[in-house]
């Protein structure tokens, strides 16, 4: 009897929590300044112009090349250069995009964009990312749906979970509908096709950089493998590319290689573009792992040439 009573009360309490918790999250986020509520964030617009990028995708037709990955991607692959070389493309990179978010975006846009070639930008820490920053970016700037919920359940983070509740409420109430993300956010400028141009050079990119590497998180590694498998099943040629970073960053990254890094090094189809484009740290980067526009031009042309030499480029539509 006592056990039955205990379990009943516990179940009722759990139910009450499940029902009331979202209300508390929303109420706190509305009543209190968002900076006060530690585990709710809503980066509308965000750092990577994801809102504009996804808005541009509405009604967008097929492309020859699709770029996937983190800020190295949306700041590194310039569709204008590819267009000038005869290839249509779209850059679907986003801020700190981890494999879980890449998988979500690929599932959502692969059929629409029908790329012949996917360039998946990778580097050693890709399996170590917790995926939270990118999850918040997608929650705030993309529609909230079941795929968002699935992403949050994979990321397993309270900040992402609360932000999903808050983001869904804002979407339901249409609060963000009137938000217009500025295309120019100096020194960043959004370029149609998903690219963000940064026309500055850093004063000092040679400082030693500390990166954290180690074994991959299982959920990220599985998402990465699922995405590669999906692209293979769909018959899309996929090239893994390591975008250039400054020498100190790159040295540090590979000094103590992660398991993912070692796995990548063993793949014959990995294109490590470090050193391949003749970039100079002090001229072609604006911080330790992002290229300035001068670097982007050199890198993209070098990459296209490399792909052409290896007969990996698609036929232009």
């Amino acid at each position: 009897m006592e056990m039955r009573r205990f379990l009943k009360q516990l179940a009722l309490f759990a139910l009450a929590c499940v029902l009331l918790y979202p209300l508390v999250v929303v109420a706190c986020s509305i009543i209190l300044p968002l900076s006060f509520v530690k585990n709710v964030k809503h980066p509308l617009g965000g750092n990577g112009h994801m809102r504009t990028r996804l808005a541009e995708l509405k009604g967008h037709g097929p492309v020859d090349v699709l770029f996937l990955g983190s800020s190295h991607t949306y700041r590194g692959f310039d569709p204008r250069i590819w267009e000038a070389r005869g290839y249509s493309s779209f850059n679907l990179g986003s801020s700190s995009q981890s494999p879980v978010q890449t998988e979500l975006l690929v599932k959502e846009y692969l059929d629409q964009l029908e790329p012949q070639l996917v360039i998946y930008e990778v580097y050693g820490v890709l399996g170590n990312l917790d995926g939270v920053e990118s999850a918040l970016d997608l929650i705030a700037n993309r529609k909230v749906d079941l795929a968002s919920l699935e992403m949050v359940l994979r990321v397993k983070n309270m900040l992402a979970f609360n932000s999903l509740i808050y983001g869904a409420t804002r979407q339901l109430l249409g609060v963000d509908r009137s938000f217009n993300e500025p295309l120019l956010n100096p020194p960043d400028q959004y370029i149609p096709g998903g690219f963000v141009e940064h026309d500055e050079t850093a004063a000092d990119t040679t400082a030693t950089v500390r990166t954290t590497v180690g074994g991959p998180k299982a959920f990220q590694w599985n998402a990465f493998q699922r995405t590669l498998a999906l692209l293979k099943v769909q018959g899309v040629r996929t090239v893994l590319v390591e975008a250039p970073t400054t020498r100190p960053f790159n040295t540090q990254l590979h000094a103590d290689p992660s398991e993912v890094d070692q796995w990548l090094r063993e793949r014959p189809d990995l294109l490590d573009m470090n050193g391949a484009a003749g970039l100079v740290d002090s001229i072609h980067f604006y911080d330790h792992d992002h290229m300035s526009q001068k670097g982007v031009v050199l890198f993209n042309n070098a990459l296209i040439n490399t792909l052409a030499e290896r007969h990996l480029l698609p036929r232009s539509r």
């Binding site: 006592e2 056990m3 205990f6 516990l10 309490f13 006060f36 509520v37 530690k38 709710v40 609360n162």
Partner: protein
Amino acid sequence: MLFNSIDFGLFLPIVFILYWWVGGNDLRTRNVILLISSYVFYGWWDPRFLVLIAFSTLVDYVVGVRLGSTSDERSRKFLLWTSLAVNLGLLAYFKYSNFFLESFVDAFSLFGQRFSVERLNIILPVGISFYTFQTLSYSIDVYRNKMQPTKDPVAFATYVSFFPQLVAGPIERAEKLLPQFATLRVFRYDKAADGVRQMLWGLFKKMVIADNCAVEVDRIFGQYHEFSGATLLLGAVLFAFQIYCDFSGYSDIAIGCARLFGFDLMKNFAFPYFSRDIAEFWRRWHISLSTWFRDYVYVPLGGSRGGTAMKVRNTFIIFIVSGFWHGANWTFLAWGALNALFFLPLLLSGRNRNNLRTVAHGRWLPGAGELVRMLFTFFLTCVAWVFFRARNMDQALGYLKGMFTGSYLEIVGPTMQSLPYLLIFFLLLEWTGREHEHALQRTGDRWPKPFRWSLHIGIVSLIGLFMATGETPFIYFQF
């Protein structure tokens, strides 16, 4: 497996179901389920640790049985020393080898002999200081004929490895906990419900207060030479909250969890920051360890029965040994010695048992005098905590120098805006519950259900909204 992890969130209900349903009314089956669960829980960190705990258990079980079967004093002494040598030897090897090695090298360097020795690559098994002391208390009590040795190896192994309190206490005495494994536990609603409340409060303390304070404390201690005296004082105060909420949070979860299985563990913290002097503080802080040292070290040394010199000696021994138990670092020894210095004036003047009742007993608010004494005691503990938190003596002394000589006209507040409000909420609930077993017990007993549930759902919400989102182990696991 951490209490504040998803793994434990799944593990606990599974064990609960197995224990009460599969275990049925068979005592032995239930103990076996608890034993297996405890080994799974402990092996989750590193399966190699299981060999160590099994060995320690086996030694003390055999020692206990043999002690019970012989009255020859020489044999009994040999058996006791065997237990002491094995348990303290394991502890010394795993915890103190590198400390002794480095101290040895440092000592020689004082005489101009310089040589370097590589640190031994030893992994400190989680919780070894806790279960070692627990098994030791059994052997000593059997030797002293304070209790009969158990002849049930399963019950004894479960007593040593009981998962709620295995890795960070409370350090239970065999005479209190072991008989509970020999009695069929009966499920009681009130006990289990209060256990859940205590677990909830423990999780709040750990995940909201301790983990968020930790971020600020790491920042301030990491860059202490850049901050003003006021900021350094704030850092010490926040560390006081961090260490208390981290450790007492663990104890709350452990005690509450044990109650779900029908067990009663001893109270480990009794709202120590509401103490009016250091003696009261030490009666309320880490009670299971303090009383362990009192009964197995302080009293055998003569306690406070002898003259002044003996009292001073014994006080220093017990505090310094307690410091050393926490870690192999001079900072812990300094922390112990400083607490001895704070405690001695009270002992020598016979005022160490002045404050036996809870502060403001039966009243809502303390008197002005009580408040001043509480704040002064808290300040003393904060000064001592600087040694506890510092990486080495240089950092501790530099920090204290900055705290006492730096400017109090400027202060860098916490980066987390909501932290002061969360601390106020925490202190209010602790204050209202200070005469009870835990902060939420009073609300559980007296408040009408709608108010009680509102408060508890509010605490759940605060955990969700303000918890640290990374995995954060408990500080005391390293001891």
